[in-house]
Amino acid sequence: MSLSFNEVRQYVIGLLQNYFPNKKILNKIGEEDGSLTYDGSEIKGGGSSPLTEEEMQEIKDQLSSYSPPAYAVADPLTNSDMEEIKQSMAMHCKQPFPVEQHRYSLNEQKVGEWIDDSPIYEKTFHIEFVAASSFSMNGEHLVSKNENASEYDCWWTQSSSNLNFYVKVKPDNTGDIMIIKDVTFVYLQNGYKSTFSPFNNSSNVVQFQKGFQLAEEPNKPVLFISTPWNGNLYWTDAYITVRYTKQEV
């Protein structure tokens, strides 16, 4: 008797949704010494108080009458998923820190699911600006030296009191943009040596606002940053992490 990954996943989801009532199984699953073991292909009973055959059968029986969330049906684990899980588990066993849920990457990755079960993707953009000795009106400091500059456009405007800085990031096939997760700017400000300010409103130093506005090009998010004109700014790097769902084509 063994359980597949998908069965365990569905079962725990069922538990979390108050669907299954067996406290005995619940307690066993929670034991720290490992009430289930993974042999590289299957999950089985193990540890000091393993799930019995009957309990495993009960899980299977309960799952047979359980309606899993739509995404579990529409997006079951594939062989490729299984390989990824195995590698991930192996990595987790060896890595010095137990949890790595927050993986920033320059590559697009699936990080979650939206309310309608559609996947949420995440991608980090790195924009490295050409250093300038001072902030100048011609915007030369906003010239990027990234090789992948085609992934975004940068421009800026200035009003009497504000510097408005725009970045249009262009993830592939991006549809509905839901979340800006993290946005990081590293910059140097004249008179304060260096100040690290990841987009927080901090008046009298540098005041950033982040948000989106509609892009000229449909469905492409534009990151909008506004800061009061406040002396010389020395921009160096920007890291922009966006989360988004994709529009079905």
Binding site: I29, H102, Q247
Partner: protein
């Protein structure tokens, strides 16, 4: 069908972040952020109490945010249902501390009015204990009637502190904790700072420059000591935090003044 008790659910949830057994398996299965309507436990607050995330579908017209007041640049929406019921306990279960609140609005444009053009707006929370209503607000433009989804993270008065961590980025701790990895593979650290009796204007919280290479994110809340009002740090807010190298400290600047304030902020950084 009998459901597990709350204690049983806590027991299971508490193990989700442990390094052995099924919880770790599940953790590898589960995406880091899965949005579900309704309430679920997502982490642990600095005082040890579980954090719950409640996601409301406003587009189903079961929930409304009705523009309430506008003063000093603050725009409020008050939470109510279609029966004009405004009591917060109609939505949230014994809220104590508001950790964060966000809404998703749609303001498409032209023919494209049915899709989210990215508006995830952080909101402040203002609990009126006289009539038990909840005002949600920002200091920037928003239209409460255009909100489709509302998400509130909070702790409950009915919970006791727990030793369990869920192993999620929402496990807030005064201790430095690794929560992930940066684009170059270096660990991402997270640490929460708690300050009390903060005055309006400028304050500093010491954190030596040698502790980090880059700061990736600063999030936080500014609240009254009675916890009835929470104001998020950052965008569309009147409180900001940055790191000031020549002070070897975080600089907190407050332009908005609930009384008896405290600031709790969380920093993510690499070394």
């Amino acid at each position: 069908m009998n459901s597990p008790t709350k204690e049983q659910m806590k027991e299971l949830m508490g193990y989700l972040g442990q390094t052995l057994s099924v919880p770790q398996v599940v953790q590898n299965f589960q995406p880091s952020d899965t949005y579900l309507l309704g309430e679920r436990m997502i982490g642990r607050w600095v005082n040890g109490k579980p954090i719950y995330r409640y996601v409301l579908d406003c587009s189903e017209h079961e929930i409304n945010l009705v523009r309430n007041t506008t003063s000093n640049g603050r725009i409020d929406g008050i939470l109510q249902d279609n029966n004009n019921t405004k009591r917060v306990d109609n939505f949230l279960d014994h809220p104590e501390q508001f950790i964060s609140a966000h809404c998703w609005t749609r303001y498409g444009g032209g023919d494209d009015t049915t899709r989210y053009q990215s508006n995830c707006i952080p909101l402040g929370c203002d609990l009126d204990t006289n009539d038990n209503t909840l005002d949600l607000y920002t200091f920037g433009y928003w239209n409460p009637s255009q909100v489709d989804y509302l998400q509130i993270d909070y702790t409950k008065t009915t919970d006791e502190p727990t030793a369990y961590k869920l192993g999620s980025p929402y496990d807030y701790s005064l201790d430095e904790t690794i929560i992930g990895s940066w684009i170059d593979g270096r660990p991402v650290y997270q640490k929460t700072f708690v300050t009390t009796m903060i005055n309006d204007g400028e304050s500093f919280v010491a954190f030596d420059r040698s502790n980090f290479d880059k700061i990736l994110e600063i999030t936080g809340i500014h609240n009254t000591n009675d916890l009835t009002e929470m104001n998020p740090v950052g965008y569309l807010s009147a409180i900001g935090i940055c790191y000031r190298e020549n002070k070897n400290a975080f600089r907190i600047n407050i332009n908005y003044s609930p009384i008896n304030e405290s600031v709790i902020f969380t920093v993510r950084y690499i070394k």
